[in-house]
Amino acid sequence: MTTERWAAIGFLAPLIAYLVAFYIFPLYRNIELSLHDYTPVAFVTGNARFVGFDNFIDMFTSRTFSTALRNTVLFTLISIAFQFTIGLGLAVYFRKVFPLSRLLRALFLVPWLLPLIVSGSTWAWLLNSESGIVNAALRMLGMDPVNWLVSPDTALTSVIIANIWLGIPFNLVVLYSGLQNIPGDVYEAALVDGASAWRTFWSVTLPLLKPVAAITLLLGFVYTLKVVDIIWIMTAGGPGDSSTTFATWSYREAFGTGNPEFSPAAAVGNVLILIALTMGAIYLRTQRRMDAS
């Protein structure tokens, strides 16, 4: 073996040790948790009963399952649809250079850089039933105030609204940088051909942006799927299960009550990993196809 090979191993060794200790081992522990029946006592002593797939069967037959599934699908799809459309609209808008455009575009990053607890508590106060500004505005417009966070009918909508707000900056930045990579002469050609702005967007911008758009959507999906903080901070998944997703369900079982149920929580978590990794595989394939073309 050459010295260069040894050097390369030396440079990579910390990373590999790190990945094994702080990714693979926790993931292994998680799978192990989901196949045993861990009580808090067994958790300390380490001898829990092996129960096979019982935790998974319990999960699929649980009353929460169908609600969590529905909420997870709604939360992810609606959030992404709005984040992406608004982000794309803004990116196209900001592509034109006008006074203050750089500054305003930078300000759009603010919601994304704030700690989630800050955004979550701010939205909780904005949507507060009695003293929130949103209800004050509704009253001014002559509409009935809404019990945003405490009514089972609107809790999910509330967290989706906050999550859309959080995701716009990411979509804006990534799509904007995708637009920057479209060569200007394509637009000049469209202009010469007399294409309208709308036509240019559909026939030039959108097709050329497709690879970047695909990746933005996939990443958005993977990130939205694992959101816990914003939902937990605003509604803790409630009232009842009305805003519970798989991620918050898992969090609640393990850490949300005084009585940790790690084994069921790990089972839900493992399903979440499977979905995320499937999407991850699609992501990698898309990216490879992009590299090839």
């Binding site: 926790p26 993931l27 998680n30 603010v110 704030l114 990746i215 937990w232 991620a247 929580a265």
Partner: protein
Amino acid sequence: MTTRRWIKTLPALCFTAVMLFPVYWMINVSFTKSSDLRKSNPHLFPVDPTLEGYTAVLSQQLPSLGTSLLIGLGTVAVTLVIAAPAGFALAKLHMRGRGALNFALLAAQMIPGVVMAMGFYAIYLRMGLLNSIPGVIIADSTIAVPFGVLLFTAFMSGLPNELIQAAKIDGAGTWRTFRSIVLPLSRNSMVTVSLFSFLWAWSDFIFASTLARGAEYVPVTIGIYKYMGNNTSQWNAIMATAVIASIPAAILLVIAQRYVAAGVTAGAIKD
């Protein structure tokens, strides 16, 4: 001509105002007197502002802010130490199995935080690392390390090979080449990785709320969360803490705009 140029600015100003309204509202509420908080029509501006929220923060949350700062800096250190050499090896030292490692790093970013938290909890309980600052630092670094490696790899791949060969001819070993040539040239990507790992650690809620909630000094995110649970009437103090907890993000935005944009793009698209 000049008015036509400004015409585009006007809608953009409106969009920005709508987008930033919640942030403005947080600041507004942080200056509102407790007696005015429960009014059904809140004041749109801090009429008769008060500092009572901020006095409450300074008397109660200073240790939390210190804890968060410590955790943030620790996470930056761990991330740089692990990610920078690995990025160099992946970019410049021709290795077999590079593809597999890249795959692992991308997959690592897809794992839900709550799953990682459970694994860490199980391990920390045995090792006695629960409610300790090093424990949180290690857990928080898992958010930034894969991102850091990918960003360093992308940047260092762009460094000219001639530079590295020249160093070799001059008799520099790999370590020396890395330290004296590659690292100084990678200053920008080191800033980007540091900023993001600091910000992610500073903002972390999941790891802090699972691995450190019983600690003597909790990070500021948990400080706010506990505040929300205990003092539902004191929203001015909650919002004042939120304003102060946002300061790192504000500083980041002012001094490091271009690094932020570079980081977001690097996280999403590799090229």
